[in-house]
Every structure is written in structure tokens, then in C-alpha cells.
């Protein structure tokens, strides 16, 4: 029997969930704790040897009292069952700054990699034979910029080595939006001859390398907003030998965020037809539903819509949202109609001998004319103060989407009732 463990990361307990709905915020906080509890239950049910947490267990250094108690209880349960916990703090919960890490009374089974200097723990089986060496390092500050992985020792002997760190692996697609904390490269990871790299930081699940070494970002345990969509979970890893590694992803029931864009609204005649069209979206997240997660859905309506005024009517929108939410049997539904426009054929006005024709030609010009864009930039931008011209142009150009329709609807008599 080799070494079996659960690899999780980016739990971000006590994330401040953005919402005006207090009940929803509380619900999401509870769900986040529940997802962590589910992961612990999974570890208990599978009777693994250890749990590896690759950083960002907390979202910030101020852990709520209730969460602190909850975390202690979970760790104590693991301690009672003899499951070791290896925890390498990340940029959100660096040991140096963390009140939680310093203040919490951790049970004896919890091993925290407090420093950015790598430390090693040798795990033994019941007979005292070493089955694995866990090498980990934690962030000491919230902006760790050094390549910590390069300081990891090289694997020695016949015992499998497991690396545990919260790090940014450069050169991997899909990670661009993440901060480059503790950056390293695939070559750095591969050069250590480890069997498994338990990474954290990237909130999307990624298997950077399947074999020799197996490098995994498990993603976060629960999506926290519509930027973190899809099914979330943990990896169950079994290492029997240096080359004998099985890593299997297990979804953890929690909350799944998902966004669906609906653009074919030109022919929608009335709100009932729109409702039917949107209810069909339910088919697109049956996989999330099947694992027992609650669905948080955002439907983005795009393009020209004959029901422009009806949809923007607050009462209609509330009714539509509630009706579809009930029909889809989901926890939360947000219908974003900011990108719909009236059914105006702009081509009819382009080049016309009137002021709208002039305006539309200016807008067309703004798409490539940076000087004109800067010239027409509002003198005091609400966002963008302190931006250089390039950034300002980028920002202003991001505002141009749909602006021609809006100009037309504002200028044409009767178009913006």
C-alpha cells in the first residue's frame, strides 16, 4: 500500500462575497465552509493518509470567529482519524502576516510550512517504512515574488517526493489573469525529479503534466463568482512508487457558477417566448446538477431585441428572473440585459445627411483613431485617472461596444421612450 492523499487548494475561507443580498452572502459563506467539510468527509470516507493544502486556505488574514472554530473542528476530526494535514500558505494567507495561522490552535496533525525555505516531512507506513517525502514551502508575505520552487531540494533515493506549494507557473495558457506570485517554470518543476507537484493559486483545474512529474492545479474548492465557473473539487492521489501515480479528480458538491450568453433575440416576439428560450438553458448545466451542486446562473442577453423596453422594465425583469429561476430549479439567477439594444438598423442612418450620420461616422472612426478617441475622452474620467494615453485609449475603446446603438436610440425621436 503506497501513500494516498487528497490534494486541495484555494479554499479561500471567509471570502467576502460580493452581493447586496445579505442572505445570499451568508449562504455562500456557509456553502464555502460546507464544501470544505465535504472535502474533509471525502478524505475520511476514503481513509486517506493525508490532506495536502496548497495555499490560500483563507481569503485574508482576518478569519471570522465562526470559521476559525469550524476549521479547528475539522482539523480535530482529521486528527482523531489519524489523517495528517500538510499546509503550505499562499499569498492570501501568508504565515508572516496571518493572524489566523499564528493565533489558531492547530491540532498536532497539522503541519504548516511556515517559511519560504522548503521543509521536508518523511511519511512512514505502519511498519515504519518511508513511503513518501513531502517537501513544501509557504509564502511569508502577501506578495511573494521569488522563485521558491528553485530552492526545493532534488529528489533522492527510491522514495517518491511530493512538492507542495502555492505558485504561479509561467508560460501556461489560461493563467494570465493571475498574479505572478512565487513564479516558476515547468522546467523548474520538472528538474526536481518529484513524483507529484501539489500546486495551488490558479482557480481553474489544470493538469499541467500527467506524468513524471504529475503537476496539478486542483482549482479552488468552490467557485466564488462568475469569474470562477464550472465544477470544482479535489484530487485524490495514490503514489505507490516513484513512477506509479494515480491522480483522480473528484467533484465536491458546493456551488457552481456558470454564465450563458443568449444572442438570438431578434425574433423574440414577447416575454413568454423569451422565457421559453431562456428555460432551455437548463440543459447546459446538467453535469453540475448531477454532482449535487447548487447552480448560480448568469444569463447575458446580447444584441438587438424587439422587447428592449419590456426587458429593461424592472418589474418585468424581476418577474422573468424569478419565473426562470423557479423553472430551472436553481439557487440564483441573474439576467444581464445591459448588452441588448433596440431593434434599430444603424445601416439606414450611416452616411445620412443628418447629425446621426455624422455621429455614427465619428464612432466608426473612433475604433481606430486613438487621437480622436483621446480628444473626445471626457475631461474627468471616473475611471482612468492616472492612466497613460495607451491605457486610456484601451479603456475608452472598451466603452465603445454598442455605443452606436445607444447614440442612435438616444438621438432618434421616440426610440428611447
Amino acid at each position: 500500500m503506497g501513500f494516498r492523499f487528497v490534494h486541495m487548494a484555494d479554499v479561500h475561507l471567509d471570502t467576502p462575497f460580493s452581493s447586496r443580498d445579505e442572505g445570499l452572502r451568508k449562504d455562500l459563506r456557509d456553502k464555502q465552509r460546507q464544501s470544505f467539510e465535504n472535502a474533509i468527509k471525502f478524505a475520511l470516507s476514503e481513509n486517506v493518509d493525508a490532506i495536502l493544502i496548497a495555499g490560500d486556505l483563507f481569503d485574508n488574514d482576518m478569519l471570522s470567529f465562526a470559521t476559525e472554530k469550524f476549521l479547528q473542528k475539522q482539523m480535530e476530526i482529521l486528527d482523531q482519524k489519524g489523517i495528517e494535514v500538510f499546509y503550505a500558505p499562499g499569498n492570501h494567507d501568508p504565515f508572516g502576516d496571518s493572524y489566523c495561522l499564528e493565533g489558531l490552535k492547530w491540532p498536532k496533525n497539522v503541519h504548516i510550512f511556515k517559511k519560504s525555505t522548503p521543509e521536508s516531512y518523511t511519511v512512514h507506513d505502519d511498519c515504519g517504512k518511508p513511503v513518501s517525502v513531502i517537501v513544501g514551502a509557504g509564502h511569508e508575505g502577501s506578495r511573494e515574488g521569488r522563485n521558491i520552487v528553485s530552492e526545493f531540494p532534488k529528489a533522492e533515493g527510491s522514495v517518491p517526493y511530493i512538492g507542495l506549494i502555492h505558485a504561479f507557473v509561467a508560460g501556461v495558457s489560461g493563467t494570465g489573469e493571475y498574479d505572478r506570485y512565487a513564479p516558476c517554470s515547468m522546467e523548474d518543476l520538472a528538474s526536481k525529479d518529484y513524483s507529484y507537484w501539489a500546486l495551488g493559486h490558479i482557480h481553474s483545474r489544470m493538469e499541467l503534466n500527467r506524468f513524471k512529474p504529475t503537476i496539478v492545479y486542483p482549482g479552488n474548492l468552490m467557485g466564488r463568482n462568475f469569474g470562477e465557473e464550472g465544477i470544482k473539487g479535489i484530487y485524490e492521489v495514490e503514489i505507490n512508487d516513484i513512477d506509479d501515480i494515480k491522480a483522480v479528480f473528484h467533484p465536491i458538491p458546493s456551488v457552481c457558477f456558470t454564465t450563458i450568453s443568449v444572442g438570438n433575440l431578434k425574433e423574440v416576439k414577447d416575454l413568454s417566448a423569451l422565457e421559453s428560450l431562456l428555460v432551455k438553458c437548463g440543459d447546459k448545466f446538467s453535469d453540475m446538477r448531477s454532482i449535487g451542486s447548487e447552480i448560480f446562473l448568469r444569463i447575458i442577453l446580447k444584441g438587438q431585441c424587439p422587447l428592449y423596453d419590456d426587458i429593461l422594465n424592472e418589474e418585468n425583469m424581476d418577474y422573468l428572473t424569478e419565473t426562470i429561476r423557479e423553472a430551472l430549479k436553481i439557487k440564483y439567477l441573474e439576467i444581464n440585459a445591459e448588452n441588448i439594444t433596440r431593434k434599430i438598423d444603424l445601416d439606414e442612418y450611416r452616411g445620412g445627411p443628418h447629425i446621426l450620420g455624422t455621429v455614427l461616422s465619428i464612432i466608426d472612426k473612433l475604433k481606430y483613431d486613438d487621437d480622436l478617441l483621446l480628444k473626445l475622452s471626457p475631461r474627468d474620467l471616473a475611471i482612468g485617472r492616472g492612466l497613460d494615453d495607451d491605457e486610456k485609449v484601451k479603456y475608452l475603446r472598451s466603452l465603445l461596444e454598442g455605443i452606436d446603438s445607444e447614440c442612435a436610440s438616444r438621438m432618434i425621436k421616440g426610440a428611447s421612450k
Binding site: P16, T358, S377
Partner: protein, 909 residues
């Protein structure tokens, strides 16, 4: 109300004004006015400005309606009227009155229109603001128009063919500005959404700080609780120690006290165990021993006496008694057979009586049955008679006899028959005659009485005839009788044989003849009776012989014992038996007395021996006790006993205390060990009242302290519970984050709106540049005329909110406001701009009068002259009103422009 006008460019001209209480004018009426230029000349406060307002009021109504300063201070209403003529020569009488509400009418021809406070229809396309800005100019208004107003003017100017398709740009921009301003503002004006959100965020951040403080406080409370728990644990331990001490004190101190008492009592009881053999009530025992000794002596004497009496009783048993007792068994056997003998004697008597009675019966019955009565020799044959055989033969006889009798009856019947049934022959004739005669009579007589009698006679004859025929049938009866006789003979033979058989069965007994001829069951019964009696007699005789033999044997036996006992016998055997019995009883009684005496002697001997032993024992015990008491303190035996009792009392108390201790706690041994253990520690466990009092005081203190700590703990827990209900930092951060997101969106939206606004403004500017040069060109042309060619071009700035002019001398473009042009030049620029604008606006509409109030006062003579020339040209196309207080200007205009001068008088004059 619509005023019909079919063609554009209608020239509107005021022909006359009138007031009845209107500002300072009071009741005033103007002269008829020219179509070209009219100059109102008068000194200050002569009413020029009031007339200026009068024109505006006639066209647009009262403004304001309430508290309008045009209502004279001494009047309650203001009224004005005017006669307006259009280019077609049609006149319109407009009357307006303002009292509590605004009233207005317009009359043309025979039609009257209610205006209320609405504008007249001539100015329907020109808002009052634009009219006031472009058509009715005062000196003060000769500046760049108000921004909004300027935009409106611009919109009016740019309307063109698409004017009705698009919203006015000024409205669009204004709305965008409003919307953008409602979202975000670069300054601190107003309360846009961004600011509201920022303020909410600010409040939330304060709340966040509080929440974080709360969390930290909860952590601190948690630590305090842990510390408090340890304090409570300490206090609890201390309390436990105190309680332990008090409990031990309460438990062990009584034990210690008792142990000490036990020790003292044990000391006082001395070597009490040496006297354990002495009874508790030793004095009583000694007394009892004395008493016992006395009693035993008395008993001894009594026992000796009893022995002597018993010896005397032994002599009652004689030699004769011994002989009798030697034959005791035989005598007892005889006594036991007394009943048998007595019974045998009585049976003998009874048998004799019975035999006699039977013999009498035998004689009596013999006489009835036997010929010659009973004789003893008949006994043998009688005994031999077989009852079954005789019964059978009697039965046979009886059967044959019965048949014999029946046969005899048959024969006698036949004989009787033969003798009684023979009829004479005349009976036949008579019967036949009767029948014939009767029949004849009945036929003849018919139903008469005689006929009936004849019938009856005929019937009688028939009956007799029948009887006769019947009596003729007995011819076979004789043969039958003969046959019956033969059968009777055979039966008689059989009868005799049966009778012989009976006789044979009787074995020759001489039965009486009568009974022998007709033997029946009575004969059998008698024979059986005789036979039974014979038997009985024989049996009785046999019994009598047996009894005689037995009695003889008994007699011999009795006599033998009487002889052995040396007694004198009686004749009667029973008396002898009685005598033997009596004698045996007497001897037995003597023997029992002897034996009892013997036993008594033996018992007495034992008693005497026992009493002697007891006496010895009592003596021994007494001396022994005395000996044991000897070591005790005291001179006398009593004082020694008293000492012993005291020692025992102390010992008893010690034992009682020990029992109490054991009763209270069976495991007293461990308590004693515990006490010893504590005592051996020396000083730390002092079982005294002071120590326990001290411990109790400590306990109270600990209790108080514990209560305080528990209260504090409760308070902390409550506090943490309450604090736990506060908002969580994460929650507030979430809300802040949401609000920040909203702020970002709001800011983006505002930026977008502002960008849209700028795009539309830019579009507007470009469009204006491309489509609106004629206004500026015309204004430039007028300015060129006025300035004598110095400034010949007017430009609208990019932002649309300012103007620039071109100095034709040096080609510079000068911003009208920023390049410090003289006031007069600025007024000339703005005046030309307004005139050009007015002319452009009314291209397709009514041509309204231009009204200038002292607009030329700041001009130099050269430019004023140029302007007068220009006004002359303008007044040829429209009515122009000019108000001035300068007489020279008024008459200059009159001369140069052929203007009508209306002189106003100063109201104060």
C-alpha cells in the same frame, strides 16, 4: 387657438399699445406706430423698459403670474393691450389682464380667441427665452448667451429637413449630462450615485472596522474564557481542597475524638481481660451460689427420705403374686378366650332352642303332606329327593293334564252340538208359506198398511227359511266326536305315565293321596320345605357337637391354671376365668408397684449423687470467684467487686465507642490508618476548630470568587454570543466589494455616457461646421459693416460655448471672451450674432419686430453710425423698436432712418 396663415414669412407689426395699470405706465396709450423703426425716447424712469416688457407680455403672456411687479402698487391688477397687424393687413386686438389669474383674449374681425396666459400664435415656433435672447435685447444681454439657451438657439438654427426626426441635441446632451451627473461627478456637486455608493462604502468601512474589532474582541473574549476557565478550575480545585479538608474534618474529627476516648477508657479498664472469666454480675452470682448451696442441701435431705419410702414399697410383691405372674401368659390366654367360652355357652343354648323349633315345623308340615305324619326314617329319602327331577315330572304331568282337560272340553262341546241343532220339517213349509203369502199380499196391497204387514210377513218367512237351511249342516259332527274320544284316551295314558314319574321322583315318601293324584308346585314347595327343615336340624346338631367339645377343652385349661396358682376353683368355668383374671390383675399391680419403687430408689440414688456433685460445684465456683477477685483493689470482697465493675464499665464504653465507629463506617480501619497517616505528617492536618473555621472561611471566599468567575464567564459567553450575531467582516467586505463593483460599473457607465455625450457634441459641431456657416457668415458680414471691416469673420468654438472673431488686419482669430476685446466690440459681435440668428430662425416663419433697449450706448460714433445704417436696412424688412434716453440718438435715427420717435414723459415730472 390657431391663427390662419398660409404662407411663410408673415411680418408681424405692432400698430398700437395701450395700458391700464401696467408698471409705471398707469393708463397709457401709444400713438399709432409705424411699420419701420420706432424710437421710444424719454428720460430715465419714463417707462421705456416697461414698454419693452409690454411687448413681451403681449406676445407671451404674464411672467411671472403671481407677484408680478408690473401690477402697480396701488392697484390690484394690470392690463395691457395691443393692435397687431400682419403682412396681409389683418389686425388682431390682443388684450391681457393679470389679477388673481392671468387672462387674455385676441380678437380678429368677429372672432375672439381665449389666450389665457398662452403666447399668441405668431410666436409659436419661438420660445420666449429665444425671443428674449434674440429679438428683445437689452444692454445687459449683449453677451454670449446662456449655454442651454445657446444650444436651443443652435438647434433651432440646425433643424433643417431632419429637425423633426431627431431629438434636440441640447436635450440629448442635457439628458446625457444629467444621467452622467447622476452617476458620477468630478466635483463635489450634488449627490451622484457614485458618491452615494462611496458614502455607503465609507460607512461600511467604518462598520468593517467595528466588525473586525468585534472579531478581535471575540478572539480576546475566547482567550479570556480560556483564562477564566483555568481560573475557575483553580478555584474549583481550591474549593475541592477546602471541602476535602472540611469533609475530612467532619468525618475524621468525631472518629479521632472517639479514638481518644477509647484510649482513655481502655487505660482505665486496665487489664480487664484477666477478669473476663468473672461474670458481669459477680455479686449476684456469689449470692446465687450461696442460695444454691442452701437449696442443694435441702434437696439432698428430701432425696434420702424418698429412697427410704421406696424401699418400703418394694415389699408389696408376695410369693402368690409371683406364681400368678409366672402363669401370666396362660392366664392371659384364658382371659382372652373368656369371650369365646361365653359365646359358646350361649350358642349351645340357642342351638337347643332352634332344633326344637325345627322339629315342631317338621311335624306340622309332615302332617299336611305325608300319610301318617312325619317320622324320623323319612329323613333319608327326603334328603335324596332331586328337586329338579320332581319339578320336571310335575311340569310334564301338568302339561298332559291340561291337554286332557282340553280334550274333554272338546268332546263335551261336540256332544252338546249334536243334541241342540235339529229343526222340524214344518218349519220349512211354514217359512215357505209365509214368504209366498207375504209376497202376494205385498204385491196386491201395495203401499197400504196391509201391504207393509204382508212385506214383513214375507221377511219373517225368509228368516225361518234360512235358519232351517243352516240346521241341516251338522252331519260331520259325530265323526269328529269319535275322533276326539280316541285322542282323549291317548292323553289319559300319557297322564298316568307322568303321574308315575312323579311318584318315582318322591323316593317312596308316603304322600297323601289327594296330593299324589294331582301333583303340582305346592307339592314341590312342601317337599322342598321338608327337605330344608331336615337339613337345618342336621346342621344344628353338628354345631352343637363342636361347641360341646370346645367348652370341654376350655374347662380343662382353666382348671389346670387354677390348680397351678393354688386357687380354689368354682363350678362355673366363667367364674373361674374371672377369678384368674382378677388374681392376675392384682399380681400385676403389685409387680408394677414393686418396679416403680425400684426405679424410685435408683432415681433417688442418682439425685443424691447429682446434688452432691452440684454442691461440690457450687463450692468450687464460689471459691474460684473469690480467688479471681483477690488481685483487685479493695479490702473487702464488695470493694473488689466494685473495682471490677468500674473497670468493666470503662471497657464497655470503649467497646461501645468502637462499635459506634464500626457502625458509622465499617471500614473504620482505613479511617484509623488515614488518621494515623495525617497525624504522622505532623501539623498539616490539625483536627481542631480553628483549622476547620479557617477552611470554611476560605471555602466561602472561593465560593464567592467562583460565583464571580462564573458570572464573568456567563457574561463573556453572552457577550461572545451577542457579538457573534454582529455582522461579519467578510460579509461587510462582500457588500463593500459589491458596492465597489457597482461604483466601478457606475463609473464606467458615466464614462460611457460622457463619451457618448462628447461624441454627440462632436458630431453636432462637425455637423454645424458643415451645415451652419450662413448664420456666422451673416453675423460676420454685419460685424464687418459695424466695425468698418476690422472684424469680418465669426467662428463658433469647438465646445460650442464661445465665439471667436478674425481680425482682418492681422488675420488673428480672437476668442471673444478670452482675448480682452472691448466691451463695445463684444456687444457688437453678440448683437450681430443675434440679428443673424433671428433672421435665420424666422426663415420660414413669422417676421417678428426687433427690440433694442439702449444697446448702442457703449459704441463709438463711427460704429454707431454704421449700426444706424444697418438698422435702416433691417427696418425696411421688419418693425424695429429702439429704446433710448439719448435725445440725439433718437433724432439721429429719426433723421437717418426715418424713424418714428415716441417721446415718453418722466412719470415723476
Amino acid at each position: 387657438m390657431r391663427i390662419p396663415h398660409d404662407k411663410g414669412g408673415i411680418q408681424v407689426k405692432f400698430k398700437k399699445f395701450g395700458t391700464n395699470g401696467f408698471g409705471c405706465l398707469g393708463k397709457w396709450e401709444s400713438p399709432d406706430l409705424n411699420d419701420g423703426m420706432v424710437v421710444f425716447y424719454g428720460p430715465n424712469e419714463s417707462g421705456k423698459t416697461t414698454i419693452f416688457k409690454l411687448i413681451s407680455t403681449i406676445l407671451y403672456g404674464w411672467d411671472p403670474v403671481s407677484s408680478n411687479p408690473l401690477i402697480p402698487y396701488d392697484a390690484s391688477s394690470a392690463e395691457c393691450d395691443a393692435c397687431i397687424e400682419d403682412s396681409a393687413g389683418e389686425k388682431y386686438m390682443v388684450h391681457r389682464r393679470l389679477k388673481s389669474r392671468a387672462q387674455g383674449t385676441m380678437v380678429t374681425g368677429d372672432k375672439k380667441y381665449e389666450l389665457a396666459n398662452r403666447p399668441v400664435d405668431f410666436v409659436r415656433y419661438i420660445p420666449s427665452a429665444i425671443f428674449n435672447e434674440l429679438f428683445a435685447l437689452t444692454l445687459d444681454e449683449l453677451c454670449f448667451p446662456d449655454e442651454g439657451l445657446w444650444q436651443k438657439i443652435q438647434d433651432r438654427l440646425l433643424g433643417g429637413q431632419y429637425g423633426n426626426m431627431f431629438n434636440p441635441i441640447v436635450d440629448v446632451v442635457s439628458k446625457l449630462d444629467d444621467e452622467a451627473g447622476s452617476l458620477w461627478r468630478p466635483n463635489r456637486m450634488g449627490k451622484p450615485k457614485d458618491r452615494q455608493l462611496a458614502e455607503s462604502c465609507k460607512k461600511l468601512r467604518i462598520e468593517l472596522e467595528e466588525a473586525e474589532k468585534n472579531e478581535r474582541a471575540m478572539e480576546q473574549i475566547e482567550k479570556d474564557i480560556i483564562n477564566l476557565k483555568s481560573e475557575i478550575d483553580g478555584a474549583v480545585s481550591k474549593k475541592a481542597r477546602c471541602l476535602q479538608y472540611i469533609n475530612r474534618y467532619e468525618k475524621l474529627y468525631p472518629v479521632v475524638k472517639k479514638l481518644r476516648a477509647i484510649e482513655e477508657y481502655t487505660r482505665l479498664s486496665g487489664n480487664i481481660s484477666d477478669y473476663d472469666s468473672i461474670p458481669d454480675d459477680v455479686q449476684k452470682v456469689l449470692n446465687e451460689l450461696d442460695q444454691s448451696r442452701e437449696n442443694l442441701n435441702h434437696e439432698y435431705d428430701e432425696a434420702v427420705k424418698l429412697r427410704q419410702n421406696a424401699l418400703l414399697k418394694c415389699e408389696v410383691l408376695s410369693q402368690s403374686d409371683k406364681l400368678v405372674l409366672n402363669c401370666k401368659d396362660e392366664i392371659e390366654s384364658i382371659i382372652s378366650s373368656y369371650g369365646q367360652v361365653d359365646s359358646d355357652l350361649r350358642s349351645m343354648e340357642s342351638l337347643d332352642g332352634e332344633i326344637g323349633s325345627l322339629k315342631e315345623k317338621l311335624d306340622s308340615r309332615g302332617r299336611e303332606v305325608l300319610e301318617g305324619g312325619w317320622k324320623d326314617e323319612y329323613s333319608k329319602p327326603l334328603i335324596e329327593i332331586d328337586e329338579a327331577g320332581i319339578r320336571s315330572s310335575i311340569q310334564s304331568f301338568k302339561s298332559v293334564n291340561l291337554k286332557h282337560q282340553e280334550q274333554e272340553a272338546v268332546i263335551s262341546g261336540l256332544r252338546a252340538k249334536l243334541s241342540s241343532w235339529k229343526m222340524p220339517a214344518f218349519v220349512l213349509y211354514i217359512a215357505s208359506l209365509l214368504c209366498a203369502a207375504g209376497a202376494f199380499g205385498m204385491i196386491i196391497m201395495k203401499n197400504t198398511t196391509a201391504g207393509i204387514l204382508s212385506g214383513m210377513l214375507s221377511l219373517l218367512g225368509c228368516i225361518l227359511l234360512i235358519i232351517y237351511i243352516l240346521s241341516k249342516n251338522n252331519k260331520s259332527d259325530a265323526a269328529e266326536l269319535k275322533e276326539a274320544q280316541k285322542k282323549l284316551d291317548r292323553i289319559e295314558h300319557l297322564k298316568r305315565e307322568a303321574l308315575d314319574c312323579v311318584v318315582h321322583e318322591l323316593k317312596g315318601l308316603p304322600i297323601s293321596k289327594i296330593r299324589a293324584q294331582n301333583p303340582d308346585e305346592t307339592l314341590l314347595l312342601d317337599v322342598i320345605t321338608l327337605k330344608e327343615v331336615c337339613y337345618n336340624i342336621q346342621n344344628c346338631m353338628k354345631k352343637k357337637n363342636i361347641l360341646s367339645q370346645r367348652l370341654k377343652e376350655a374347662y380343662d385349661k382353666v382348671m389346670a391354671q387354677i390348680h397351678n396358682c393354688g386357687l380354689t376353683p368354682y363350678n362355673d368355668i366363667l367364674n373361674n376365668v374371672d377369678m384368674l383374671k382378677s388374681r392376675l390383675e392384682e399380681a400385676s399391680e403389685h409387680f408394677r408397684s414393686f418396679k416403680a419403687a425400684k426405679l424410685e430408689i435408683e432415681g433417688t440414688d442418682d439425685t443424691i449423687s447429682g446434688i452432691s456433685d452440684k454442691i461440690k460445684n457450687v463450692d468450687y465456683r464460689y471459691s474460684s470467684l473469690k480467688e479471681k477477685l483477690e488481685p483487685l483493689n479493695g479490702d473487702s470482697l464488695d470493694s473488689k467487686i466494685c473495682s471490677l465493675l468500674k473497670m468493666r464499665k470503662y471497657y464497655g464504653r470503649a467497646q461501645n465507642l468502637k462499635e459506634e465507629l464500626y457502625h458509622d463506617d465499617p471500614d473504620i480501619g482505613s479511617l484509623v490508618e488515614e488518621i494515623k497517616s495525617y497525624e504522622s505528617k505532623g501539623g498539616s492536618w490539625e483536627f481542631d476548630d480553628y483549622s476547620v473555621s479557617k477552611a470554611r472561611v476560605e471555602l466561602e471566599q472561593v465560593d464567592r470568587s467562583l460565583n464571580e468567575l462564573n458570572e464573568k464567564m456567563g457574561s463573556l459567553k453572552k457577550d461572545i454570543e451577542q457579538r457573534n450575531m454582529h455582522k461579519k467582516p467578510g460579509d461587510i467586505k462582500g457588500l463593500i466589494s459589491e458596492l465597489e463593483n457597482e461604483r466601478k460599473l457606475v463609473a464606467q457607465k458615466r464614462d460611457r455616457l460622457s463619451l457618448i455625450k462628447n461624441i454627440i457634441i462632436e458630431g453636432d459641431r462637425v455637423y454645424r461646421e458643415e451645415n451652419q456657416p450662413d448664420v456666422l457668415q451673416k453675423a460676420g458680414k454685419y460685424l464687418d459693416i459695424i466695425t468698418g471691416g476690422k472684424y469680418n469673420n465669426i467662428y463658433s468654438e469647438m465646445n460650442g460655448n464661445s465665439l471667436a472673431v478674425k481680425n482682418s488686419m492681422d488675420g488673428r482669430i480672437l476668442d471673444v471672451e478670452q482675448n480682452h476685446l472691448s466691451r463695445g466690440t463684444r456687444e457688437q459681435i453678440y448683437l450681430t450674432l443675434r440679428i443673424a440668428s433671428a433672421e435665420h430662425i424666422e426663415k420660414n416663419g413669422e417676421v417678428l419686430p426687433l427690440i433694442f433697449d439702449e444697446v448702442l450706448v457703449n459704441w463709438d460714433g463711427f460704429r454707431r453710425g454704421n449700426m444706424i445704417k444697418l438698422l435702416k436696412d433691417i427696418s425696411s424688412r421688419r418693425q424695429v423698436f429702439l429704446f433710448t434716453c439719448h435725445e440725439s440718438l433718437a433724432y439721429n435715427l429719426s433723421d437717418e432712418c426715418d424713424a418714428q420717435v415716441v417721446e415718453l414723459m418722466c412719470n415723476k415730472c
